[in-house]
Point group: C2
Chain length 252, copies 2
């Protein structure tokens, strides 16, 4: 969208922007935002891509950088890499110099994960995929796991993290039985992630990094579908259907 008013963050009226939250809601032609919620949208990025930034990219950044402290040279396993946060995490981690291993449950999803920059992709519906992961890491395990479905995978993740590994829990839909001894034996960590609880300085850092990534082309939000605002109900159905890789964007 375009900024109507100016802010202290360097955004002027008429500038192309994306927003990280609004005060008045985003299903609208105009939105009221706090100036800290408005970020410049580089010329090489579409408005639809801008609309796809905030939750997935900001969450992936908060998980990988602030919570898991993933560093260049480390290996990250994106457990569920073909969804919105997963694609963002693959692009972010690749650009920061991590070795990226992703998973997806479909052939199309796995192709997408590789296209977005993963060094390796695995099928999390295949038996033995975690043994394959251990082979890919020379038996060492991964330094960081970005976990999209902790209720299914958390105990398995404890088995495949390396010494001092960090498991960032981004998605979860129920309870899971774990043996915390596995975490003790590796000085490993399970880290809950909610973008909602990022501190104000962290939010500033997140968007400073995301704008730069958009500008230099390392972050490229994938749009699955654009629908007019009037078709918002249809968008809510589409988001629950399988097989959409990328974000669904409403166009006012």
């Amino acid at each position: 969208m375009e900024a109507v008013g100016a802010g202290v963050t360097g955004v002027k009226a008429g500038d192309r922007v994306y927003v990280g939250g609004t005060l008045s809601g985003a299903y609208a032609e105009l939105s009221l935002c706090d100036q800290t919620q408005v970020h410049p949208l580089p010329a090489n990025v579409s408005f639809a891509q801008g609309a796809a930034m905030n939750v997935p990219y900001a969450t992936a950044y908060h998980a990988l950088v602030h919570r898991a402290a993933g560093e260049a040279g480390e290996t990250v396993f994106v457990h569920g890499a073909s969804g919105g946060v997963g694609i963002a995490a693959v692009q972010l981690a690749r650009a920061r110099g991590l070795t990226v291993i992703g998973t997806a449950g479909t052939e199309r999803g796995r192709r997408l994960v590789l296209e977005q920059g993963a060094h390796h992709v695995l099928d999390h519906t295949a038996t033995g995929y975690l043994e394959e992961l251990m082979r890919l890491t020379g038996g060492r395990g991964v330094d960081v796991v970005l976990e999209m479905l902790a209720n299914v995978n958390l105990q398995k993740d404890l088995g495949i993290v390396a010494m001092r590994g960090r498991i960032a829990v981004i998605g979860n839909r129920g309870t899971v039985e774990i043996n915390a001894r596995l975490a003790m034996n590796k000085n490993a960590a399970i880290l809950g992630v909610a973008l909602f609880h990022a501190t104000p300085p962290q939010v500033v850092g997140i968007h400073a990094a995301l704008v730069e990534g958009l500008s230099n082309g390392t972050l490229r939000p994938v749009i699955a579908l654009e629908l007019p605002l009037v078709q918002a109900p249809r968008a809510h159905e589409a988001v629950m259907e399988a097989g959409h890789h990328g974000k669904i964007v409403l166009i006012p």
Copy 2:
């Protein structure tokens, strides 16, 4: 014990020392140590107390400081505070300026926990003790949990940590069912702790801090029982019996 040889760490032959591990074993009149394992024992501390330092105090320090990053002004809940690591954690956390809440299952244990510096003590066998904990923190919860029995308490701990709280798992004896959503909702962390995996620089830091704490009197290892080395088999029985608060030390 007394050092026989000198080391680069400033210990001279004849100095009083304690050891953080040995090369040749500690059930002995003499032990061979790497020089990095030998630390000065201040004059105000007995040899028996020196023998009680390494595993409990070093573990408590690694958990509280390196893993959970407990800071002055925060609240720490020592879930199981009357054992060796628990007592060490209470003394360490109190000296660093944290508000300390401990638990013990017996009246004698609770008295000990208060004597060692806890601001509050709770009975973890009493119904409603976690509601009492929440009242003590004004409903906010605790910043750090040092957990001695994760298989029983981990899910409960997720309920009583504050926003951005850290649960350091020091002890565990089986599996536990958790809902990772609780960790997500608070950006909370579950941190496995094994002293064995502290890095060499961390080990240096641990003993620098412990020697200073012994010297200034804030760390005072509690000795439950001293037995002659020849009675080592009896010591192994005693350590499994209930009701020993403090360490059992073999005297060569």
